[in-house]
């Protein structure tokens, strides 16, 4: 039987010292879905994302990513799992000592047996897909603007054609036109490659146009789970803030 759940969070508890960030958080992300993590500042959206990609440990509960519990995973399996996802960090997090092209190529170089010219061409193609001009390829991250770094970061995340894509505030800091182009790109990638996308976002337009479903975190729990139409019917004042 085929498993249609990409990520499942079961009773997630997160504590930093005394302060509790998540207390019994549950949700499921279907395969092929574009899923949003929303919530006010400090509600633990990014923490939740970091827990999915094994950068942070939960204090309790289970986090199943592609069917495996990331808290009880062997390091070999973890390494395999890491090749199945791409992550875009909020500020791109490009390696400063490498050119943009090398940044995109590095994962392919390390994890595939592809000949060099294929790696290079497909890296150039990915850069063009995220809307970067060819001359950027040989520049260093310090020579790029914030928005361009973000695009290059997305190209790097897409390098291995991942099954899962994690995006931390992909459209923040982009101009509205680029932000919509970014949204379109993510939609197309999902439609063609069947990628599952998990993103932390604040962007109202992204919420309406791109997200299939989302959760809103608040009071250490999932306050809302559903889509925009469902959110519009809400009578809860806390949730209404996310509509305006």
């Amino acid at each position: 039987m085929k498993n249609y759940v990409a990520i499942e969070a079961k009773n997630i508890v997160t504590r930093f010292g005394q302060s509790v960030i998540h207390d019994d958080v549950n949700f499921k992300i279907q395969k092929g879905e574009i899923f949003g993590l929303l919530g006010g500042s400090g509600s633990g959206k990014t923490t939740l994302l970091r827990e999915m990609i094994m950068l942070q440990k939960t204090s309790g509960g289970q986090m199943l990513v592609l069917g495996t519990d990331v808290m009880k995973i062997s390091s070999k399996m973890a390494q395999k799992l890491r090749q199945k996802w791409g992550v875009l960090f909020q500020f791109g997090a490009l390696f400063t000592s490498l050119t943009i092209l090398e940044n995109v190529m590095i994962a392919m170089r390390e994890y595939t047996n592809l000949p060099n010219w294929i790696i290079e061409e497909s890296a150039l193609m990915k850069l063009s897909m995220v809307g970067l001009p060819p001359k950027v390829a040989y520049m260093y991250p310090s020579e790029l603007s914030g928005g361009m770094k973000k695009r290059a970061g997305l190209a790097r995340a897409l390098a291995l054609d991942p099954k899962l894509l994690f995006l931390d505030e992909p459209t923040s800091g982009l101009d509205p036109y680029s932000a919509r182009a970014f949204d379109d790109l993510i939609l197309t990638l999902r439609d063609t490659l069947g990628i599952t996308v998990v993103m932390v976002t604040h962007d109202k337009d992204t919420m309406t146009n791109v997200l299939d479903r989302f959760i809103i975190l608040g009071n250490k729990k999932v306050m809302f789970e559903g889509d925009m139409t469902l959110l519009k019917q809400t009578t809860n004042d806390e949730l209404k803030k996310f509509l305006s």
């Binding site: 400063t96 000592s97 392919m108 595939t112 047996n113 592809l114 000949p115 294929i118 290079e120 061409e121 497909s122 150039l124 193609m125 990915k126 063009s128 897909m129 060819p134 001359k135 390829a137 040989y138 260093y140 991250p141 310090s142 897409l158 291995l160 054609d161 197309t188 439609d191 063609t192 490659l193 069947g194």
Partner: protein, 376 residues
């Protein structure tokens, strides 16, 4: 079941059909590339790529098809695709639009020219750094003078914090190194002096060399290693995170908030550290003198009072604030040179420590020569 990726060419009445089948994903691309290479393209023929047999695909597989399609087109062949599923068609179009037509590689360097270019760049860089350093020290002097004229503007809390971090916390390691140096001098001296029966001269030997030269120098080197690097990294990271700019924009002068507290802290704490270093290195010498040469602690101290002039202590202590000033200036200066890349943090921190240690030794040598010539 997953079908193995494959590639066949069949001849039809109006040209050739290339039948692509199976999974065209990145794991298969390498072997498919080899198969593609064996195909010889007939110029000006009509090629049809039949994509209907492709069961799984990713951008790498599509790129391979595109690559050879372009190659065929270069030989004036007419290429067309048939049978692609809807999603394959969609991704194929995106990939085709973004296929890198011609590589805009930067021109290759010619060895000699690039070498000369590097030499020129380094020379210019050195000149720029030097002039920036002069500007920095000039501005620093000005800020020191203005803050000494208005002592209320000195950030007392920050200064005390840095005295604790760079001074008090360095005490254990400085005591240990000074003690060991005292032992080393005494031990080496003891074997030589014993031959002459001039045991008592161990006192002058240890005391003068320790308090005048070795204790100040070693203290300065340890502090340079600890604090020059710390100052450079702290200020550099603050620059990267825009904290320095934030400060300036709020009207807080980075000089008063960052540089002067560090400078004053080292100028104040180094003489104190040297003072402790003096005591401990003499103690180290005393231990060896009493065990190896039968010069008791009391004899040792009496002899210091009789024969070792106070000027040696004073010269050692006067050098300390100069070293402190050099270390803090270099540490802060290199910190402000750090730019937006994380790599430069490592680079300038290293340079900062090396510079600081070098200049401490160089200045010590200059002072040593100068004072000897003056007869002190």
């Amino acid at each position: 079941m997953k079908k193995k990726p494959s590639l066949h060419v069949t001849q039809t009445n109006d040209g050739f059909t290339v039948i692509l089948q199976g999974i065209w994903v990145k794991e298969a691309v390498k072997t498919l590339d080899l198969t593609f290479k064996t195909l010889t393209c007939k110029p000006e023929a009509h090629y049809t790529f039949d994509l209907s047999g492709i069961s799984e695909f990713d951008t790498h597989g599509i790129m391979l098809i595109l690559h050879y399609a372009k190659k065929f087109e270069a030989q004036k062949c007419v290429i067309s695709n048939v049978g692609a599923s809807e999603s394959l068609e969609k991704l194929f179009t995106i990939c085709e639009q973004n296929y890198p037509e011609k590589k805009e590689k930067p021109p290759k360097d010619i060895f000699l020219l690039s070498y000369l270019e590097k030499v020129g760049k380094d020379a210019l860089e050195g000149y720029k750094t030097l002039s920036y350093f002069f500007a920095f020290t000039g501005e620093l002097t000005q800020h020191v003078i203005t803050s000494l004229l208005n002592p209320l503007t000195i950030r007392l809390k920050a200064t005390l914090y840095h005295i604790e971090q760079s001074g008090a916390r360095a005490l254990p390691i400085i005591l240990l190194t000074s003690f060991l140096i005292g032992i080393v001098i005494a031990y080496q001296g003891a074997t030589q002096l014993e031959k002459f029966g001039a045991n008592i001269f161990i006192v002058e030997m240890v005391t003068i060399s320790a308090v005048r030269e070795l204790a100040p120098l070693l203290t300065a080197i340890v502090v340079a290693g600890r604090s020059a690097s710390a100052y450079t990294a702290q200020i550099g990271v603050m620059k990267i995170t825009d904290e320095v700019d934030a400060m300036s924009s709020m009207g807080f002068s980075p000089w008063n908030f960052l540089v002067l507290p560090r400078l004053f802290a080292l100028i104040i704490s180094l003489p104190l550290l040297v003072f402790f270093g003096d005591i401990v290195s003499i103690f180290g010498g005393m231990v060896i003198a009493s065990t190896k040469l039968d010069v008791s602690f009391v004899e040792f101290i009496d002899r210091i009072k009789e024969t070792v002039a106070l000027k040696h202590f004073i010269i050692g202590l006067v050098k300390a604030p100069i070293f402190g000033c050099v270390i803090a200036t270099i540490g802060c200066f290199r910190g402000f040179q750090i730019d937006s890349s994380t790599e430069s943090v490592g680079k300038y921190t290293t340079i900062s420590v090396v510079n600081a240690i070098f200049w401490v030794i160089a200045i010590d040598a200059m002072i040593s020569v100068l004072l000897t010539e003056l007869g002190l």
